[in-house]
C-alpha cells in the first residue's frame, strides 16, 4: 500500500513505516494498531485534519480509516535495535542479580569446550593414571 503519507514529499520515503493491510484476527496486531494509531494521530493531527477535511470526513471517520491503514507490524528503519519477535514487550520477573546468575550459568554451559591436547599422555611420564575402580 506504500507510504502512510501517500505522495507527499519526503527526504526518503523509506524513513517512514510501510503500510500493510491490517489483520483483524490477530490480537497483537490490533494492539499494535491501536498504539501506532494513537501516536500517529497525536503527532500528525494537523496534517491528518487537513488531508481528510478536503474530502469532508469527521475526526471519528478518519480514525476509523486510519485503523484499516495502520501497519500490522513495525518495520524498523535501522538495525541497531531489533524489535521483539511478536512485538509484545514483557518484563522479566527475575531481578538483575538473578538474571546475572542465570546468564553466567548459561555462559559456562555454552563456552567453547577445551579441545584435547595433541599428546594425551600426562606431562609427568613417571605417573600413571589409576585404574578405574568399581565404586566409580
Amino acid at each position: 500500500m506504500g507510504s502512510l503519507f501517500g505522495d507527499w514529499p519526503s527526504f526518503d520515503p523509506h524513513n517512514f513505516s510501510q503500510l500493510q493491510p491490517s489483520d483483524p484476527s490477530s490480537p497483537s496486531s490490533c494492539r499494535v494498531q491501536a498504539v501506532i494509531l494513537l501516536d500517529t494521530v497525536l503527532l500528525n493531527q494537523a496534517r491528518f485534519k487537513c488531508m481528510f477535511r478536503k474530502i469532508g470526513l469527521t475526526s471519528l471517520m478518519y480514525i476509523l480509516i486510519l485503523l484499516r491503514m495502520t501497519p500490522a507490524t513495525y518495520h524498523p528503519t535501522h538495525s541497531r535495535t531489533l524489535p521483539p519477535p511478536d512485538q509484545v514487550i514483557t518484563t522479566d520477573a527475575k531481578n538483575i542479580l538473578l538474571r546475572h546468575i542465570y546468564q553466567r550459568a548459561e555462559e559456562k554451559d555454552l563456552r567453547p569446550k577445551r579441545a584435547a591436547p595433541e599428546h594425551l599422555v600426562p606431562e609427568h611420564g613417571c605417573k600413571q593414571p589409576r585404574a578405574s575402580s568399581s565404586s566409580c
Partner: protein, 536 residues
C-alpha cells in the same frame, strides 16, 4: 538540591524547586541533616525490661520481661510540654519529662513462654504489611542429645521450640508453629528469613528448610520442606517405589523415623545409610557432576577431570550441610553449605564453605560457588542491595546504605580491599556475611552514609552489641560544611553516679523520628543503663 543549610531556607526551596527525577525521597531525607537527636537524658528510670528493637514502621517498641517469659509492647510517643517563659530553650526539661513513660506508652503485655520455656530475646521478625510479629520461645538446648531419627550429630537439641505469630496491634496470638527435638539458630534471626509473606526456617539438626506462608488471616501455612525431598510429592513417589530404597528387610519399613514437626508435614526422613542420596543433596551433586562433565570435550580427560574434581571429593560433598539460607526472591534461595565443624566452631573462616542458588519451583541448583569465588564477589559488590532482599511493601528498607548504592560505602570497601594482603582471604571475609540475616539493619536515616559520617566500629545500622566507649560517638555531615551535627554520649561528663564501669553498649534508633535509645551493660544479668537521645 538545597543551596543553604538553614532549615527554613530549605523548606522554602522545596516549595519552589522540583527535585531531579527519582530523587524526591533522597531530597526529603536531607532534612534529617537539620533534625537530629542532639539532646540526651541520661540514666532514665525505666521498667526492668530487655528492649529488643523498634519495628521497621516505627509503630512499636518491642521488649521482653527480664525473666524472658513476657512480651511487652510500647507505642513510641513524643514528649510534649509547654513553657510560659520567653526564652524556653535555656530552661531545663520538667522532671516528668525525664521518665520513660513520657516517651513510650505501654500497649499490652502478653505471656509467650510457659513453664520451662524462655523467649529468645535476640529473635524478632516483623511483617509490616499486616503488623504481625514473629517471636520464638524454646526450652533449654541439650548439648549431648543423641542423633536419632535422621538427625545430624554434633548439633544440640531443643525439646520444644515454638514460633508465635502475633498481631502487634492488640497482642493477639494468631498462630504457632512448634518444632520438637530440633535445632534452629535463633539469635539475630540467623536461622529464619522472612521475605514478604514467606518464612524460611532452617532446621540444622534435620537439614531441612521449612518454607511457610503467613496468610493475611494470620495463619502459618506449610508450603514445602526442602531437604530430603524437593518436590511436594517426592516422598510419595519414593515410598511407592520402596524397592529402590534397598532396605535389607522390608518388614522394617514401619520403623522409619517419625516426624518431629507438629501441625505440618508428616513426612519421614529416609535412612541415609541404607538408601540413595535424595532431595537437595542429590540436586547439588548432580549439578557439580554436570558442570565438570560439560567442561571437558574429550572423553578421557573428562573422566580424569571427574575423578580429580568430583569423585576424589565426593565424600566431602556428601558431608556438606546446610548452614544458613536466605531468599533472593519468592522462588530462589541462597543456601550456604559447610561442614558440621564449621557450624559449631566459633572460627568458621577456617572451614570451607559453599554457596548455592536454588530454584524452589524447578528444584534445580542454578549456581554453585566456593566461598572464595571471584564471580560471586563481583555480584556481591555490584548488586549487594539484591542480596538484602526486602519486602516489596517496605520502601524505606530500600534506602539502607550499602556499597552498591552509596559511594562512601563503596570507597570504604575498596580501601579495605586495597589494604588486604590476600585477595582470596578478602573475598572470603566479604562473602562470610552471606547469606544476610533478615531485618538485621536499622532503616534510620542517621545511618545513611550520604548524610552522616560516623565510626562504624562504635555504632552502625547493624543490630549488634558493641564495646562501650567513654568518648561520644560523633555524627558529622557528609556534605559541606562537614560539621559535627550531634553526638551520642553513653554517660554524663562526670561519669555515672555509682561509678559502674560500663563495658557493652547497644543502640536502638527509631526508623524515622529523631529518637534513639542507648543501653549500657556490665553483664547481661545486670540491669542496664538506659539513655534517651531525642531532638528537643
Amino acid at each position: 538540591m538545597f543551596r543553604s543549610n538553614n532549615i527554613v531556607a530549605r523548606i522554602f526551596q522545596r516549595q519552589i524547586c522540583t527535585p531531579a527525577p527519582g530523587t524526591s525521597v533522597h531530597c526529603a531525607r536531607r532534612f534529617y541533616e537539620n533534625l537530629v537527636p542532639s539532646f540526651t537524658i541520661y540514666d532514665v528510670e525505666c521498667p526492668d525490661h530487655s528492649f529488643r528493637k523498634f519495628t521497621d514502621d516505627g509503630q512499636y517498641l518491642i521488649s521482653f520481661s527480664r525473666n524472658n517469659q513476657d512480651l511487652i509492647v510500647y507505642r513510641p510517643t513524643w514528649l510534649s510540654f509547654s513553657c510560659k517563659e520567653e526564652d524556653c530553650d535555656s530552661h531545663d526539661l520538667p522532671s516528668k519529662a525525664r521518665r520513660f513513660e513520657s516517651f513510650f506508652t505501654q500497649l499490652y503485655s502478653v505471656s509467650l513462654a510457659s513453664c520451662n520455656e524462655l523467649i529468645c530475646k535476640d529473635f524478632f521478625l516483623y511483617m509490616d504489611s499486616n503488623q504481625y510479629g514473629i517471636f520464638a520461645t524454646s526450652t533449654v538446648p541439650s548439648q549431648d542429645a543423641p542423633a536419632t531419627g535422621g538427625a545430624i550429630p554434633g548439633f544440640p537439641s531443643i525439646e520444644k521450640m515454638t514460633f508465635h505469630l502475633l498481631r502487634l496491634e492488640d497482642g493477639v496470638i494468631l498462630d504457632e508453629k512448634v518444632f520438637h527435638n530440633d535445632f534452629v539458630n535463633l539469635p539475630h534471626n540467623m536461622g529464619v528469613f522472612l521475605y514478604d509473606d514467606l518464612l524460611a526456617i532452617v532446621s540444622l539438626r534435620y537439614q531441612t528448610v521449612h518454607i511457610l506462608q503467613i496468610r493475611d488471616s494470620g495463619n502459618l501455612v506449610d508450603v514445602r520442606a526442602i531437604g530430603a525431598y524437593c518436590h511436594e510429592d517426592d516422598e510419595l513417589f519414593l515410598n511407592s517405589n520402596a524397592q529402590c530404597m534397598a532396605f535389607p528387610d522390608k518388614s522394617k519399613m514401619h520403623q522409619l523415623p517419625q516426624n518431629h514437626v507438629q501441625n505440618g508435614l508428616h513426612h519421614s526422613q529416609p535412612n541415609l545409610e541404607e538408601s540413595f542420596l535424595s532431595g537437595i543433596k542429590q540436586r547439588l551433586l548432580s549439578f557439580i557432576f554436570h558442570r565438570i562433565w560439560n567442561e571437558e570435550k574429550d572423553r578421557t580427560l573428562r573422566v580424569q577431570c571427574l575423578k580429580k574434581k568430583f569423585y576424589f571429593h565426593f565424600q566431602d560433598y556428601v558431608d556438606l550441610i546446610i548452614w544458613k539460607v536466605q531468599f533472593l526472591d519468592r522462588h530462589h534461595l541462597l543456601i550456604k553449605f559447610g561442614s558440621v565443624e564449621g557450624v559449631v566452631s566459633r572460627n568458621a573462616d577456617q572451614h570451607p564453605a559453599f554457596f548455592a542458588v536454588y530454584n524452589m519451583e524447578t528444584t534445580e541448583i542454578v549456581a554453585f560457588y566456593q566461598n572464595s569465588a571471584e564471580d560471586l564477589y563481583h555480584l556481591f559488590e555490584q548488586y549487594c542491595d539484591h542480596f538484602h532482599s526486602t519486602s516489596r511493601n517496605s520502601l524505606y528498607m530500600n534506602f539502607i546504605s550499602s556499597h552498591s548504592n552509596n559511594i562512601h560505602a563503596l570507597e570504604q570497601l575498596r580501601s579495605i580491599k586495597n589494604k588486604a594482603t590476600s585477595s582470596s582471604q578478602f573475598v572470603k571475609k566479604m562473602l562470610g556475611s552471606l547469606p544476610f540475616s533478615c531485618q538485621s539493619q536499622s532503616p534510620s536515616p542517621y545511618f545513611d552514609q550520604s548524610l552522616f559520617r560516623f565510626d562504624e566500629k562504635l555504632i552502625s545500622a547493624t543490630d549488634r552489641h558493641r564495646p562501650s566507649t567513654d568518648h561520644p560517638i560523633k555524627f558529622i555531615l557528609r556534605r559541606p560544611p562537614c560539621s559535627l551535627k550531634f553526638k551520642i554520649k553513653l554517660g554524663p561528663e562526670a561519669g555515672s553516679a555509682d561509678g559502674r564501669t560500663k563495658k557493652i553498649s547497644s543502640f536502638l534508633f527509631h526508623p524515622f523520628l529523631p529518637l534513639a535509645l542507648s543501653f549500657q551493660y556490665t553483664s547481661f544479668s545486670q540491669p542496664s543503663v538506659v539513655n534517651i537521645h531525642f531532638r528537643r
